[in-house]
Amino acid sequence: MTRLMPYGEHGLLVELDDLDAVVALAAGLRADLPPGVLDVVPAARTVLVSWESADADEVAAAVRALVDSPSPVAVVGREHHLDVRYDGADLREVARLTCLPIPEIIELHTTATWTVAFTGFAPGFGYLVGGDTRLQVPRRAGPRASVPAGAVGLAGEFSGIYPRASPGGWQLIGTCPTPLWRPDAEVPALLAPGDTVRFRAVP
């Protein structure tokens, strides 16, 4: 069931049934932004639409129209092959949670073709989906105050790489040396929605 909820005077939060619906709505809105809308932020089950000056009812109508008849928007991205040193602090915990030996966790992580469903959380961060369901683990009970830059993690249906040191609650399985965020580059973020990622285990 789709729900539309006001988010203050300048926002609208749309709750959707699944990630596919989220990606479709976000793509549809971005392809044709309603007048005044500045930001469209997809997340696991929601899309937040925000503005500085817009007609809230007009925005809601545009959202409803897209939800009722989603237009197929194909997002074709780049392929990335990223090295990972599988030395994460939570590898043993992930093995315990999944009942899988560590070599099999690495095998599953490296044989999947991951897709960037959306970006956000922090500059350069991409939420990756498409992994084997056996790799789905809950976030840590308490987040770490500081996760190192390049840390590769798992949480729920997602995998991801922390672009820089930050607080974080994902289960860490490895380290990726490739910079995901270079603020002075013409395109600062390496990962964009629609890109695919294959991981490669390195010693």
């Binding site: 203050g8 926002g11 925000s50 956000g120 500059p123």
Partner: protein, 288 residues
Amino acid sequence: MNLEVLRPGPLTTVQDLGRPGLAHLGIGRSGAADRGSAQRANTLVGNDAGAALLETTLGRLTLRASAPVLVALTGAGSVLLLDGAEHPRDTVAEVAAGATLAVSAPTWGVRGYLAVRGGIEVPPWQGSRSRDTLAGLGPAPLRAGDSLTLGPEPARPASGPVRVDVPGAASLQALLGPRSDCLGERGLALFWSADWRVGTQADRVGVHLHGPTLPRASAAELASEGTLPGAVQLTPNGPVILLADAPVTGGYPVVAVLTAPALDRAAQLRPGETVRLVPLRGHSLSLR
């Protein structure tokens, strides 16, 4: 013409009205935490409302002007000191060549806005000169020895003094947030009636409030979703009001969202101050 930074104070950053439109990349809008005061300072000196200016934190900024320039200070309860002589807030001041201008430590509030006619000219990042203190983006915070250049003379003249009352006890108007149902009826009533106290954790990312433990209707973990400055998140340690540099997504339920004027007031909250949150009835939004 330049402004030499003699003393930067605890934290002085360049701000404008931020860089909206990049949240889907994980980059927040940032910009002046008290947007109303920033715009007022710019208008006073004849700048566009969104020109780059200086945001001081607890004052104590000292600059020296190499040539005559018009400035205006708004926001927290500081005074402007021109070669030591006091000058009021919320009105244009003329700084002579070679004079020092200082922003005193404020007697109330936190953030002062010093606009200089022409605006602060530093290289923008992704269309804005705002410093995002969480992501570390935009111009670096001011340091002693920095030399700031100004933009071109604007077309508009400076404007006359504005009367701004010293704010009383903070009473922040807010709309019900999308996850207010995580609080039961009792919890919500307590949320609106409590005398919240501002904790020591207060910065451009957010202001932590301390007070009664709120009875929850649901303890279910929430998936991360988009957030906006002004959102009031309910964390295990109590409510947090998100300010200009808050992350663009968060996993704590948002039970209320401040109005724009309330957010400006929240940007001036000092640790130890008492805050009330006041419900504003939502305007009609035909929702299913």
